[in-house]
Amino acid sequence: MSAYLVATRYALLAMAKNRLAAVLLIAFIPLWITVAKTLTTPKTFPFRLRATGTWLRAGGDEITMISGSLNAVSLLVGFLMFSAARRTRSFDRRLTAAGYPRTALMGAKLTMLLVASVLVSAYATAWMLLFWTPLQPFLLGLAVLAVCLVYGAMGMCLALFLRGEVEGLVTIIMTSIIDLAPQNPVASTTADKPLVELLPSYGSLQTSLAAGFTRDATLSPLLNSTAWLTAMTVTALGAFVLRTRTHQPPRTHHAGS
């Protein structure tokens, strides 16, 4: 089995043992979606979809469900990746110093990010579909996947400088709230400040709203998600390469001595 497959297998096995993340996945996501859909008002709100400039009307319950789902999945995947990166920080260094190929470990981390994001986004999207029929379910799933990837990569970055699990979790929760609250059409029907476009979940929220209430395949906001994902993945992997450098003393092999 190749170094990549061994590392990936163990990374996924270890991830599956993250009990807090499992509880959040199984209980918190359905709970959030159910609460958002059943307890918030179905009254429709007019709001401007910033990505296309068009005015839409949608139920407050559906908007809250979308926003709440993005919030829930982002903190879950963010926490999962933060937790894994923090746990293996010193161990990765030892493994690479012993000769483990760094590309294999980096490949395993990216695979873990992708697997976690696909599973969580598929699960959350499926729960949303139980309550609601968006006009473009596949695009909705893609938007949820994008926010999972962005926050997963963010979790890896946060592990570079936050030591404790609680610090990481709180930071991710606060970031997700600060990120999503100003964009929520219920709270801000126009969300008209250009800076909104710079927020990490802008691409996913815009795409989710477009998927829910239009028939336009609006993919351009996902460029924002791609930029965030790229920047944070490059930062996390760059830091990994720097951290796993060894200062090898000159090594030679016994040459007939």
Binding site: Y10, A97, A98, P249, H253
Partner: protein, 214 residues
Amino acid sequence: MAGSSPPSVDVVLRVTAVRKSFGSREVLRGVSFEARAGQLVGIVGENGAGKTTLLRILSGDLRPDDGRVDLLGTRGYCPQHPVLDEELTMRQHLRLFQVAYRLPSPGRALRLIDGLSAARYLDTPVKVLSGGTLQKLNLVLALMHDPDVVLLDEPYQGFDWETYLRFWDLAQELRSRGRTVVVISHLAHDAERLDVLHHLHDGVLGPSPTADTA
């Protein structure tokens, strides 16, 4: 001190005028020593004397500010505190390091684990193991590729007496096969087991009068 060294007189580790500071604190102020094949070398010193810093430099984990380290052959490093992945089992650790060291089989690792009476924990996640058992795995990960130079930072912390004795049997076995073992300790009790004992004091290395370290 142990008896005479094996016949080989090859120098496999040469440390020359190594200096290291952390901020304004100069921890190592020109450390030099040599170790030969088949030697058991001890380094003792007070807490905070820089023993771990020195070993981390020898292992490649830290870069010296000045000076050089020449090491012939392969190297195994056992850090002071077990560096493991708490979610994995012992066997999974062995598998990862088998890949890292490019070993065709985990045979030697399993024999070492068995020799340290830890085989029954092979499939247990390390997060539920005792400190002594973690240290056994920590040690085996440094030895499983049978390196030419073994760098051990207080390797028997948490060992019970029997395991402590087994550790020294293991060190003697390595020595008899021409391996070089550098052991850091703050105990002088092991002096008679060693070929050479250095005392790290004030950032420099000197021969160690036993009384200084007792």
